[in-house]
């Protein structure tokens, strides 16, 4: 076989990286080795191994660049370091501005990244979380979704869906734990299926994961609850008496396991778990109720291919179980566990939710801030470097090569960057607790050092480093030293002015965007508090009556409480305020024309419900306690339902609710029973006697503002006369405010970061102005000598900024409108985004421009021209 030469391009690679010192021998050896291999095992293998060998020879000590540095100038490195420090000191104002701007930008990005990472980490700690799905009850006819579903599903589902490997359920319940004479209400109590603990990966401290929820009367405690009730963790076998209110039963539970406190990034939160087998007698009949939604269900489906089969079989499942057309209004959505936290906007339920849109928005804001900060930094660095033409020229004259000049600039950038990063990280450590408080999370200092954060920071560092170093390094190398040394500085500034203006434009557009977005967010938040919700929420309190036994005595309690001084009005209702209104019935009316049932929300109320709420009956009349027929046959509907019917009056009008004919006696104003995210749906108000599922189980009281605490104490006393459940109440207006938690967090973050963006924009402007002023100092001085007034000079300096400003407003405002309209889509009640918002944003922006450049411009205009003219 004729021997060939080793492939040339691989040789080139070797020549490229390998230092001359080693090249000859290595290349020679490799070639010999190549021919030897070619003889032995053929050309193809030889070529392949040749490439491998060349790469394998890549050792640090053989790299060209490092080798040169070693030969050369360690001393120069020290000199560069010295220059860096001197430059920093000489331009102290610049340097501080520069470093602060960058540090603030990095700090903001860091904090937002932490927030986002925390949100994304939800529920991913479970083993094989990709196989776990949450069952969401779905009504295909009206699109509603809920996280609670009937316990009746599990039994028939198991044979029907053989693809489901495991199925576990969790049902919340209100219990009281009895400790001596004291009762403690536990709202973190849940009943769980026997396989719950082996299904999920919550950390077990003691007890057997597989069996701890098998036996009846078993209870599993978290670390916190074990410490709370026993003062120690080793409590397996101890007894804990509980009383279940809904079932009106007492149990003595035996502790069968202690687990670690539930991680905060779990959407499933509980403190105590009782074994589901305990409830057989109490709730066993619920397994027959296909409309009683009281459990959260999770299934494990290992194969994604099976998932499609399962989804396809869902309608058949309901049709088979409940009759032919059941699948029209019943369905299941299999929601992957990792999507539960952020993609559950449509799902109603009691579990805390995040919102993926906020993640995108926060990420976007972080990017903008970072962009603004980086631009600022690059801008200031390049501006500053153009003043160093002479220094670089001198270095070049003395024999510095291209690489050395580049190295010097990169080193300066690198050191300054490092300083900024150190400041940013230290500040992040200091601010993390307050930030956590602001966004209502518990983020630990250690979170700062998880690898995604470190990777983001490392990437950031490299990116800014490369960007900010490139420009000065390039420009400084382009010019001929002799020109600069002769005093022709224009070579340095040519062409860079539009670039700098462009950068400030981007930065300012970002600031305008943030200002206008903040205003829109604030306007929407104002709407939340000022919108006429149709009732008066102030001074209303809501007392939940969870105890089914107590509900029989509700009217007695009501009468006793009514006599307490300070209680202006009191009423009973089946839904708390605020309420998600889960009780949907089928509804049709006389003269509708077809037999289709429309969904309507049903609430049972009391005679004095609307007077207590201060809601108007706009048509017809309210319930009358004196009329016996009212309680049996009459209903009130709200305006939304009235509109559906298309009626023009109430003369002898009847509706059909789940097959029962009822006379409509009145129409009530649409009041917002829930947050303004959702519109008011059709509601029917009925009078329902105690003992039914929708019977009143809340008391709503209107209190006298004066002497509130005394009145509450007296109410507590009345309450204790009837119940051993602790007295629990909430202020209705506060409960409503809590529904906007996500929005309030968002507002705080947006305001904070808008501030940062504006700060960065000001920095950018100030630096640009002072840079231009310095460059044009001679020109301005000559103007002054020739008699130009201050005003003329100010206009001259300011003119270029007006253009930038206008352009940035034109870019920033429409973008903000676009982004915010998207955000507003999440609310049924939206504030109007009109020209007033934009005008105010533009005014704020212009005052920022004037404020930040005016001072600089005045300084220039007021300076003594001789100072600049006598320079040369």
């Amino acid at each position: 076989m004729k021997s060939t030469k080793p492939p040339g391009w691989i040789d080139k690679l070797l020549e490229w990286y390998c230092s001359d010192q080693y090249l000859e021998e290595i290349q020679g050896d490799l070639h010999e080795w190549y021919f030897r291999r070619e003889r032995k095992s053929g050309r193809f293998k030889a070529r392949l191994f040749y490439l491998y060998d060349v790469i394998a020879y890549f050792r640090l000590f053989r790299i060209k660049k490092l080798d040169n540095m070693e030969n050369g100038n360690n001393l120069l490195l020290i000199s560069y370091l010295k220059m860096t420090v001197r430059q920093f000191k000489r331009n102290l104002r610049y340097s501080i501005m520069n470093t602060t701007g960058l540090a603030v930008g990095i700090l903001s990005t860091l904090l937002i990244s932490l927030y986002i990472l925390d949100e994304l980490s939800y529920d991913r700690f479970h083993q094989d979380y990709q196989e776990i799905y949450r069952l969401v009850k779905h009504n295909p006819s009206n699109g509603s979704q809920a996280d609670s579903n009937p316990s009746a599903w599990k039994k028939p589902m198991t044979p029907f869906f053989p693809e489901i490997r495991e199925h576990t359920r969790l049902g919340q319940d209100v219990v009281v734990i009895k400790e001596g004479d004291n009762n403690y209400l536990e709202d973190g109590f849940n009943w769980a299926d026997a396989n719950f603990m082996s299904f999920f990966s919550f950390e077990v401290l003691s007890g057997d994961r597989e069996t701890m929820l098998t036996a009846p009367n078993s209870i599993v405690l978290t670390r916190a609850k074990a410490m709370r009730y026993f003062g120690k963790l080793d409590v397996v076998g101890e007894l804990l008496p509980i009383k279940v209110y809904d079932g009106n039963k007492d149990f003595v539970m035996q502790v069968s396991g202690v687990i670690e406190d539930i991680p905060r990034n779990s959407h499933i939160q509980f403190d105590l778990l009782g074994s589901m087998s305990t409830t057989t007698e109490m709730y066993g009949e619920f397994d027959q109720y296909w409309n009683f939604n009281w459990v959260q269900s999770y299934v494990r489906i290992p194969s994604e291919a099976d998932m499609e089969k399962v989804k396809a079989k869902v309608p058949a499942f309901f049709d088979e179980q409940l009759g032919q057309t059941a699948s029209a209004s019943q369905g299941i959505i299999f929601q992957p566990l990792s999507r539960v936290r952020l993609h559950s906007k449509e799902v109603t339920g009691r579990m805390a939710k995040g919102d993926i849109n906020y993640i995108y928005l926060f990420g976007f804001v972080a990017l903008l801030i970072l962009l603004a900060a980086s631009i600022n930094y690059v801008n200031l660095t390049t501006a500053k470097s153009t003043k160093r033409g002479k220094e670089v020229g001198m270095r070049k004259v003395f024999g510095a090569v291209r690489r050395q000049v580049v190295l010097q600039f990169y080193m300066e950038c690198g050191l300054q960057l490092m300083l900024a990063f150190v400041i940013a990280i230290s500040a992040a450590l200091l601010l993390l607790p307050s930030f956590s408080y602001l966004v209502e999370k518990q983020m630990a200092l250690g979170d700062l050092f998880q690898w995604p954060v470190l990777a983001v920071m490392g990437g950031l560092f490299l990116l800014i480093f490369l960007l900010s170093g490139i420009y000065p390094a390039m420009v400084m190398n382009r010019f001929k030293p002799i020109q600069v040394l002769k005093g022709n500085l224009s070579v340095l500034t040519q062409g860079s002015s539009w670039l700098r203006k462009g950068q400030v434009l981007v930065q300012f557009a970002i600031a305008t965007f943030l200002i206008s977005s903040t205003l829109i967010v604030l306007k929407q938040m104002k709407l939340f508090s000022s919108h006429d919700v149709g009732f008066t929420a102030e001074q209303l309190i809501n007392i939940p009556v969870d105890d089914r036994g107590l509900q029989q005595k509700l009217m007695v309690i009501k009468n006793r409480m009514e006599r307490v001084p300070g209680v202006n009005a009191i009423t009973a209702t089946g839904e708390a305020l605020p309420s998600a209104m889960n009780n949907t019935l089928g509804f049709t009316w006389e003269g509708k024309g077809d037999d289709d049932m429309l969904p309507i929300l049903a609430v049972s109320i009391d005679y004095d419900f609307f007077t207590t709420l201060e809601t108007e009956v706009v048509l017809g009349r309210n319930y009358d306690a004196g009329l016996a027929t009212d309680s049996a046959n009459s209903v009130l509907i709200n305006e939304a339902a009235y509109k559906l019917t298309g009626w023009t009056d109430l003369n002898d009008k009847r509706i059909d609710i789940d097959g029962e004919k009822r006379t409509v006696i009145g129409v009530v104003e649409n009041y917002n029973y829930n947050s303004l995210h959702t519109d008011v749906a059709a509601v029917v108000y009925t009078l329902t006697a105690p003992g039914r599922r929708m019977s009143p189980d809340n008391l709503i009281l209107r209190m006298e503002p004066a002497g509130l605490s005394a009145a509450l104490n007296e109410l507590d006393e009345v309450w204790s006369g009837f119940s051993d459940q602790p007295f629990d109440f909430s202020f209705v207006d506060q409960s409503f405010a809590r529904l906007y938690g996500n929005e309030q967090r968002f507002t705080r973050v947006v305001i904070g970061f808008a501030g940062v963006g504006v700060f960065l924009a000001i920095l950018g402007l100030v630096s640009l102005v002072s840079f231009t002023a310095e460059r044009k100092s001679k020109e301005i001085s000559i103007h002054k000598v020739l008699g130009a007034s201050k005003g003329v000079i100010l206009t001259k300096v300011g003119k270029q900024f007006i253009q930038i400003f206008l352009a940035s407003v034109v870019i920033g405002l429409p973008l903000s409108r676009l982004a915010m309209e998207q955000w507003l889509q999440g609310f049924a009640y939206r504030t109007e985004v009109n020209w007033v918002v934009f005008l105010v944003s533009a005014l704020i922006a212009v005052s920022i421009v004037l404020g930040s450049i005016g001072w600089q411009a005045l300084r220039v205009a007021g300076s003594n021209p001789v100072k600049y003219l006598s320079d040369h």
């Binding site: 000859e24 021998e25 290349q27 020679g28 050896d29 070639h31 080795w33 491998y52 060998d53």
Partner: protein, 107 residues
């Protein structure tokens, strides 16, 4: 002393370079090791081992003649130093001593 330890592969390279008087360089050494031990070696590992041995003072190098395969490039030849020979001997002695203490196994 730090850095004088002789690794297994280094010992092999040192031995081989001692065997190949006047012709020891990476290619011949790698070749010889492959022949003697029947294991695959890459040139760069041999080279790196030689470089380390030279740093430790067990071999010394000089630039030598060329062959046609090398396209006229000179090669770096290695020869063992007195220190290197001592270290090989020590290694051998340690092994011999331990072998002499070996109990009489019958497998």
């Amino acid at each position: 002393m730090k850095g004088t330890h002789l690794g297994e592969f280094e010992e092999l390279v040192l031995l081989t370079s001692a065997l190949l008087i006047n012709t020891a360089y990476s290619v011949t050494i790698a070749d010889e090791i492959e022949k003697q031990t029947n294991r695959n070696v890459t040139l760069s590992t041999v080279h790196t081992a030689l470089y380390r041995l030279e740093k430790k003072g067990y071999v010394e190098s000089y630039m030598g003649g060329t062959t046609q395969d090398r396209g006229g490039r000179r090669k770096r030849l290695y020869r063992i130093t007195a220190n290197g020979f001592d270290v090989l001997n020590q290694a051998k002695d340690i092994r011999n001593r331990m072998w002499s203490m070996m109990p009489d196994y019958k497998f």
